[in-house]
Amino acid sequence: MHAHDQWIAFKTIIIKEVLRFARIWIQTILPPAITTTLYFVIFGRLIGGQVGAMDGFTYPQYIAPGLIMLAIITNSYANVVSSFYGSKFQHYIDEMLVAPIPNWLILAGFVGGGVARGLAVGAVVTAIALFFTDLHVSHWGVTIGVVFLTAVVFSLAGLVNGIYAKSFDDISIVPTFVLTPLTYLGGIFYSINMLGDFWRGVSLANPILYMVNAFRYGILGVSDIAMTPAFAIIVIAVVALGGYALWLLERGTGIRN
């Protein structure tokens, strides 16, 4: 397959994925918008008013980057896991498997769709955040880099989950029992400097902590974590998950007999 043909195939998967989540915007875009609004009303205004300043910022300002990152993480993951599993469940993954598309392109297409939804929801949540608080970007490069790479990481994780999933239960177990707890414990609502040494050490094993803090640094200029280890962990996750997902696709795990 020539590079031009591959580009067309890649664009086709992206268009298909974007149209898919746009068609069901009530399930994909609206819920995070409502949830984020509630977070800002309850934690930002009502409770946040009592909390006082965090690292020199109001509480709504402090939690805004984490809430945007929460939306990006959960939506990029959810998009790929549900889309890939849906294509297996209804067997229309065959449309790609019979075509002359290399596996890396299938991977890139699904991940591209996940990133697109993550960024779309992230933009909506950012717009909502601006109703409640002032936000200015301190470091554009860090902000763009961490948003994009985090969306890629969780799109890849969603793809791995989708490849292995054999039932609809299987696509909700990881988001419910792994992703949500790790995200909430990833420093969205607090600084790990508020924790004791033991829990601080435990928190450092949570990869989402690095992403939330890197994004907070990009927006507010403050972070509990240095940027070098934060980006190193994100890049390692991209490479490891990307390599693993590609290996699964090459083997035909879950998609070829």
């Binding site: 397959m1 020539h2 031009h4 043909d5 591959q6 067309i8 195939a9 664009k11 086709t12 998967i13 268009i15 298909k16 149209l19 898919r20 068609r23 849906g86 294509s87 209804q90 067997h91 229309y92 065959d94 449309e95 790609m96 498997l97 019979v98 075509a99 002359p100 598309i101 290399p102 035909g252 070829r256 007999n257």
Partner: protein, 307 residues
């Protein structure tokens, strides 16, 4: 010299469960042929098609499509194939036109050309007015035609149709036959699997029969049908029979008082039968084959009886 449309050598497939679906199949389909691949349920037809279409990993053997080796030149081989599978395998929530256009995109066809081709094939298959509807809104017959349009959009040289007319009403089935004949006449090689043996007999020039993972027949349709030594005809009579008739050289069985079944051997023909019945004052109003000829042969071959 054009290589065979499909050349399969010693193809084997053993599933993880240990089930040996294919036990060494050799098959050759010539370019431009209309080829029937028949066999009872579970014989290995869909596994063979799955391997050719790269949906199933083979255990051993060699597959070439228009000379392209499935292992060494996978993408060139894939470009040559259009697949219409047995089960509906499209996104039920996607609009009809998008399904066809996206499939074209997977083959590197630019979107503008893809829309043009989608409109062409959807029109040919009577689906153009449904192009904006979600696929789930279509009837069963329309869904089958959608899969044909999708398989043709990249204009493959080899079209594989796995039971394309299953569950389709007679009128629509006939129009689909006409369409298949047209695209075959235009140069597309077609491999058809079907349980309607009348369909295979009417459309196909060559035939292979698979049973229990082995190829038990691979020949042209005429030669196969010529092997049928005895055919059974059902005769509808003008008046009730007074007695069971006898005609030398024919086995006659009275089904009821106005219906006779006659076994006719290939060397005898029908004239002597009608003469014998006329001589006994029996007048035949109409006649039909008891079973489709290919069906008769198919059953005999699969059951291991000599044809």
């Amino acid at each position: 010299m054009t290589p065979p449309a499909l050349d399969i050598r010693d193809l084997r497939k053993t599933y993880r469960s240990g089930h040996e679906a294919l036990k060494g199949i050799d098959l050759r389909v010539e370019p431009g042929d209309f080829f029937a691949l028949l066999g009872p349920n579970g014989a290995g037809k869909s596994t063979t098609i799955g391997i050719v279409a790269s949906l199933v990993n083979k255990t051993a053997g060699e597959v070439r499509i228009f000379g392209h080796d499935l292992d060494a030149q996978l993408f060139d081989a894939k470009r040559c194939i259009g697949l219409v599978p047995q089960e509906f395998n499209f996104n039920q929530f996607e609009p009809v036109e998008e399904i066809v256009v996206n499939q074209a995109g997977y083959y590197g066809i630019p979107r503008k050309l893809a829309y043009h081709r989608a409109a062409h094939y959807l029109e040919q298959l009577g689906l153009l007015d449904k192009r904006r509807e979600a696929a789930r809104e279509l009837s069963g017959g329309m869904k089958r035609r959608l899969m044909i349009a999708r398989a043709l959009v990249h204009e493959p040289r080899l079209l594989i149709l796995d039971e394309p007319t299953a569950g389709v009403d007679i009128e629509l089935r006939r129009s689909m036959w006409d369409f298949m004949r047209e695209i075959n006449a235009a140069g597309t090689t077609i491999i058809l699997t079907t349980h309607y043996l009348e369909e295979a007999e009417s459309l196909c020039r060559s035939i292979a029969i698979i049973d229990a993972g082995r190829l038990i027949e691979n020949t042209d349709m005429k030669s196969l049908l010529a092997r049928l030594q005895v055919e059974t005809f059902v005769l509808n009579l003008a008046a009730p029979l007074q007695h069971a008739p006898r005609v030398a050289g024919y086995e006659l069985t009275a089904i009821d008082d106005t219906t006779l079944e006659a076994d006719v051997t290939k060397d005898r023909g029908m004239n002597a039968l009608f003469e014998g019945l006329s001589a006994q004052g029996i007048s035949v109003m109409s006649m039909r084959n008891k079973a489709n000829r290919l069906e008769e042969l198919f059953i005999r071959l699969v059951e291991g009886k000599a044809a």
